[in-house]
């Protein structure tokens, strides 16, 4: 193990270790997946292995043990980091529109598609109609 440590120290500076990490239940990951890792490039707190994400998972596990609900845990993180931490944008305020816009856009697109299913409007020139009728009647007038 000593060689092992030596090698490690060559490769990694982050050697300080506080002890074994806590056990995490599937519930912890389910909640962490809805939270953004504050320091990562577009990863959730469940995916990332950064120190912050690990700490977040530990906190979630602790709060679950204390009997806190999912909503309470989420609001704890919102208090700390703001609503930006939530991967599911709340359906109010400035993020309400991200839920509404797709519907509007789809409705607009739907209206475009609908035009294809309308019956075509056949508009004939009234004079041409008169002429055609006259032609149809023609032979009978001159037997």
């Amino acid at each position: 193990m000593r060689v092992f440590l030596l090698l490690l120290s060559l490769f990694s500076l982050a050697l300080a270790q506080e002890g074994p990490p806590p056990d995490l239940s599937p519930e912890v990951f389910r909640i962490a997946r809805a939270l953004r890792c504050p320091v990562c490039q577009g990863e959730s707190a469940a995916e990332s292995n950064s120190g912050v994400a690990q700490e977040m998972r530990r906190l979630i596990a602790e709060m679950l043990k204390e009997g806190k609900s999912e909503a309470e845990i989420k609001s704890f993180f919102v208090d700390r980091y703001g609503e930006w931490i939530l991967y599911e944008p709340p359906r109010r305020g400035v993020t309400l529109w991200v839920w509404v816009l797709p519907f509007l856009a789809l409705a607009l697109l739907g209206a475009g598609v609908f035009r294809y299913f309308r019956r075509p409007k056949v508009e004939l020139d009234p004079e041409a109609l008169k002429r055609l009728e006259a032609e149809l009647e023609g032979p009978e007038e001159t037997p």
């Binding site: 193990m1 060689v3 092992f4 440590l5 090698l7 490690l8 060559l10 490769f11 500076l13 982050a14 050697l15 270790q17 074994p20 990490p21 806590p22 056990d23 995490l24 239940s25 599937p26 912890v28 990951f29 997946r33 809805a34 953004r36 990562c40 490039q41 577009g42 990863e43 959730s44 469940a46 995916e47 990332s48 950064s50 998972r57 609503e83 930006w84 931490i85 939530l86 991967y87 599911e88 944008p89 400035v94 993020t95 529109w97 991200v98 839920w99 816009l101 797709p102 856009a105 789809l106 697109l109 739907g110 598609v113 035009r115 294809y116 299913f117 309308r118 019956r119 075509p120 409007k121």
Partner: protein, 641 residues
């Protein structure tokens, strides 16, 4: 001659030849002179040759550890294994733009060989050369892969460790670029069609090119998902990351086009939409590059950031302006409202295109929303997987529903004879849904089972009808399987149905937990028992690895690892995945006792049906390949059955 000199020179020559090709092709169109066209045609292989030379020069520099080049010094080290050296050109920005440029010259060359009337041929060439000028211009100015290093180091930094952790990295980017770049050919055809006002004939040729690009895009996405699954250590294959989204959008639009193009070939409708889909698909690949490379959006793909963002944004706007400027004229000249029946093949195809285009729109909105909010209000918001999953569910289900019934409906109007088929489909849907509920699956998963059986029934019915029709006509029924386009699309649909099932189950029933085990301690999760027997250290030269030894009751010894790279201060997880037909068992070593090796912290992720997602990807690829097989290439318009 040094690699840097050769590369720089080749790049410049490729740029000049592309520029010459662009001017000659434009002159050929404007003057109506075949001599100019001949000149432009000659420029295509020449540009390809110089681009290839530039690419080889970069490989040469990497193989000879030429650290006088900035790119080599920053993304290569003498310790890299050979395969990593060979794929290093696309490990970072400048090199990947060079690969993009190389593939662009290849497509331009191939497209220049296709037989077209001289008018459109000149315009197709002019558009493609224009795109080439852009890419080589970018390389010649702000993203030069052959930029010299003032004080060359004696050892380089090596590529991003994430990229050298899995062989899939050799495959995924190339497939993606083949797909992205491939969409420039349909775009060029669309531009040519719009300028020459040939709104009908372009579709048959373009559909073939789009299918090629689409096939590569699909394969690239599956490869990327696989890479993400096996490397990133979070046990998922799709995260709705902005860059994933950016590549999903052109895929959706190309899919929409492939379906509505079929209607235009058969019935001459949707002409404006087809031109719009192709334009948007290509424009969105450029937008995707802008999003990936500019750093405006936080993404796991940020390893390729650079100064090219604004230039790509400008190019994106140029493509849109060109496409939509021309489209506005098409819109005025082509009126095609009304007169379609919903309950017909073309009705189903149009609705399908609505779902694909709508999905693309929703993904664009969700991806750009945080950017827009921040730009206008300064507030930071996140739009992530939970949002995309919720909005995608109805769209995906709608597509799976249409995919079954659409091909069974006849053109123009459906009569009573389809009612029997519809009854069979609905029965399959109901049986699957109820069976799922009885087995205790969630509503969504049960619906997925129902939709899978429904699509299976549709493919079976279509095959049966195809065989019967040939028998009735006195032909050998097996000749049905020679109808590549029809059979290939059935195979693709089968693959998509399977993918739908795999996605629904893997998203619904994922189980993820983490536990610290002491030596000799056992852990039982989801029916799997494992015992931790200690850790082992390995020195692998360019990196240092630590393995946890796990004795499992079903798969023998499993050894998940942590990799320590000298250029990273945090270790990189290297998960071990055991695929079974039902569940995937995904072992990640998270941490271990660095003093005595007494304990290890392990994460186990159990996900159902992930294996089937890769199988589905393979099935789709095979179906696409079957349609594209040279024999089947439509020289003249194929009869539509």
């Amino acid at each position: 001659m040094t690699p840097g000199l050769l590369g720089g020179l080749s790049l410049l020559l490729s740029l000049l030849v592309s520029l010459a090709g662009f001017v000659l092709a434009l002159l050929a169109y404007l003057q109506g002179d075949g001599r100019f066209l001949k000149g432009a045609l000659r420029a295509a292989p020449l540009a390809l040759a110089f681009a290839a030379l530039a690419f080889l020069a970069l490989e040469w520099a990497l193989l000879t550890h030429d650290f006088t080049l900035r790119y080599v010094a920053q993304h290569h080290s003498t310790k890299d294994p050979l395969w990593v050296v060979l794929v290093t050109p696309w490990a970072a920005l400048e090199g990947s733009i060079l690969l993009w440029g190389l593939l662009q010259t290849l497509y331009t060359y191939l497209a220049s060989r296709a037989r077209l009337d001289p008018w459109r041929r000149s315009l197709v060439l002019a558009t493609l050369f224009g795109v080439q000028v852009f890419f080589f211009g970018v390389m010649a100015t702000i993203a030069n892969p052959f930029e010299a290093m003032p004080n060359p180091p004696s050892e380089g930094m090596g590529p991003n460790p994430l990229l050298q952790n899995h062989w899939m990295m050799a495959v995924h980017p190339v497939l993606m670029y083949l797909g992205f770049v491939g969409l420039s050919v349909p775009f060029a055809h669309a531009v040519a069609a719009m300028l020459t006002r040939r709104y009908q004939t372009w579709v048959a040729e373009t559909r073939w090119w789009t299918l090629i690009a689409w096939g590569f895009l699909t394969a690239g996405k599956v490869a990327g998902g696989w890479w993400s699954y096996e490397v990133l250590g979070w046990g998922g294959y799709w995260a709705w990351d902005p860059v994933e989204n950016a590549s999903f959008i052109p895929w959706l639009l190309a899919t929409a086009f492939l379906h509505t193009a079929f209607v235009q070939e058969a019935r001459g409708r949707f002409r404006v939409w087809n031109l719009a889909f192709v334009t948007l698909a290509f424009a969105s690949t450029v937008l995707g590059t802008f999003l990936t490379r500019s750093g405006v959006i936080q993404s796991v793909h940020a390893f390729a950031e650079g100064p090219v963002g604004p230039v790509f944004l400008g190019f994106f706007l140029l493509v849109l302006a060109l496409g939509f400027g021309l489209l506005s004229r098409v819109g005025r000249e082509v009126g095609e409202e009304g007169g379609l029946r919903l309950f017909s093949r073309e009705g189903a195809l149009l609705l399908g295109a609505f779902f694909f285009a709508g999905w693309a729109l929703v993904v664009v909105l969700g991806t750009l929303y945080p950017l827009l909010v921040e730009a206008f209000t300064g507030a930071k918001v996140s739009v992530g997987a939970p949002f995309f999953n919720q909005v995608s569910l109805p769209l995906g289900a709608g597509i799976l529903l249409l995919m079954g019934v659409g091909p069974l409906l006849p053109w123009r109007r459906a009569g009573r004879e389809v009612l029997r088929n519809l009854a069979v489909l609905l029965l399959a849907l109901a049986v699957g849904f109820l069976a799922g509920l009885l087995r205790g699956y969630t509503l969504g998963a049960s619906l997925a089972v129902g939709l899978f059986l429904y699509n299976l029934a549709a493919v079976a019915l279509l095959t049966w009808e195809g065989l019967q029709a040939r028998r009735r006509a006195g032909l050998s029924p097996w000749g049905f399987f020679g109808q590549r386009r029809r059979v290939g699309s059935l195979v693709v649909h089968l693959g998509v149905a399977l993918a739908g099932l795999a996605i629904a189950f893997s998203q619904t029933y994922r189980l993820e937990s983490e536990k610290t085990l002491y030596r000799g301690q056992a852990w039982e999760v989801a029916g799997l028992r494992m015992e931790f027997q200690g850790v082992r250290a390995l020195d692998e030269g360019r990196r240092f690895a630590v393995e946890a030894l796990l004795q499992t009751d079903r798969f023998g010894e499993v050894r998940p690892r942590l990799h320590f790279y000298p250029q990273m201060n945090a270790p990189l997880a290297y998960p071990r995945v055991v695929y079974t037909l039902g569940n995937d068992y995904y072992f990640v070593l998270m941490d271990f006792d660095r003093e005595k090796g007494e304990w290890a912290s392990l994460r186990l992720i159990v996900t159902p049906m992930v294996l089937w997602l890769w199988v589905a990807g393979g099935v789709v690829a095979l179906g696409t390949l079957y349609i594209l097989w040279p024999e089947a290439r439509p020289r003249t318009r194929e009869a539509v059955a």
